[in-house]
Amino acid sequence: MMADYSLTSTGMIVRTADGAFIPPDSSNADHQAYVRWLGEGNTADPAEPPVPAIVAAALALLAGPVQVVSASVPAIDGAYPIDTATQMQITGIAAAIDAGFGLPSQAETFNWPDAANTARAWPAAQFSAFAKALMIFLYQAAQVAQGHSQTLPSATLALP
């Protein structure tokens, strides 16, 4: 349960009820209320420790987008979003390909939008490789974000 107030690394005090920032100024009425609250034996929540840089970097990687570079189909090179909903779609299409259902277009390629929402023509082999590379990327970034690894994945996914 959160306390009525929490501290910050800069000395400001955050009032839980409305998120207002209270300065450490004895003339400020809200700071006076905070001091009275402390005097009643209460304790403010501590300041959240700063996020380690490598963890912050991993979180930023997980926020996407990722860069794709293909050795044989340069038309699909570019930045692609990897938000949660998109990840589910990628996984679903890759599973369909592996199951022999073919591409969603039932043709040699299908349109998959990049981060700028430009349709790119993806062949099945490259999309399956994309799904696999993305799975590995997400796992490695999550390992760092969770503190289990110190090795960040590359934000560029190399595909055949």
């Binding site: 400001m12 300065p23 004895s26 003339s27 400020n28 006076q32 209320a33 912050a56 930023a60 926020a63």
Partner: protein
Amino acid sequence: MLRDFVEETASAPGTAATFNLAGALTGRVTFGSVFTSGALCFYYMDDGSQAEWGIGTFTSGAPNTLTRTTVLGNTAGTTARLNFTGTTRVYNEIPSARAIYADSNSRVTLPGDLVLNSVGGGQIGGFRNWLINGQMIFNQRGVSVAGGMPVSGGYSLDRWQVIYDGTGATHGVGQSTLANQSIQDLGLKQCASYSVTVAGSGNTVRQFRQPIESVFTGAGRTVTVSGYLWVQSGTQNVGVFLSQHFGSGGSPSADINTAAQTWAVTTTPTRFSATFNLPTVNGKVLGTNNDDTLIVVFTMPTGAATYQVNMTGMQFEIGPVVTPFEWRSIGTELELCLRFYQVQSQLQVAGYGNSSGGLVNIYPYNAMMRAAPTIALSSVVQTNANAQSVAYNNARLAAYQATVVSGPNFGAVSFTASMTAEFP
């Protein structure tokens, strides 16, 4: 310059600049009994056939003398000293050239500079009304009767604080625009409406009040509180008293409250006033938090009463005389409000940075505030940046910070900041 019943004789003063005074007429007093030596005084010299008037200088001695310092006029139509060869009456009266009177248009024109000790017992110039937003034109917090009452101790219209207790009430304070009210002709446009539609339970106090910065305000003086009040129906008693609050921190003196006075408020907008003798603060101890105040308190009906009291043109002035409501320019009035509460919209913390890189922007307030304010952020829009917060502030400015989400790239957070530095 002027005393009562001063009249003496002089024996053949001639045209001499200085002549001897020969003593008072029966039933009159001498110049020497009411003027100190060297004092300037109006004089008239009259021998029954001619007269001279002006400003003289009285000098005590044996005998006392009067010097005709400035001749303002005479019956010859000049400003020369006339030749008085016989017994001459010399008296202290104001010449018409120096008299102040209301003319046929009831206007008073002064022949020279106006030197005043006070106006109505109060200050001569500057702001007579120590209340801010007395005409209820600023409502930066946007409170309304329908929106409910701010928390007890909170503020409603700019500078107006509410104090109450009890539970279960349906009540609120809002800003109303006057319609079909005679006081509109006085220039009053809006009012504060204090409404109780469901009394709830356990209510013993209801205050609508304004803390004036510094408990020294009016200390040891006679002061006057006034305002236009009316109710929606019936009659309600509204009380008014003053509270000298010596602040907090350290060991300040205890609050001193004057006795309350009561106004019987009806449906007709009426200007009420109350005069108080404020105790001196000499010998009192102020708190260390620099938050001492003189609080002008209006007490609303409590308990089971339901009503709506409307108020505007509220004034607190030093002196025993209620003077017309003081108009200040809208801009000036707003500046006074901003010292205690203000809102800045469309602020932005933006920049180019690496992932998780910090961004900081510093914004001065619209006006310097009473103290470093509490700041609440709202209407936040994040663009590749988050974790917006107030890193630092003082009474003049605030530094806001945010974090770039994914970089190197641009990130920005825009928001509205509400600052309050009101009194507790």
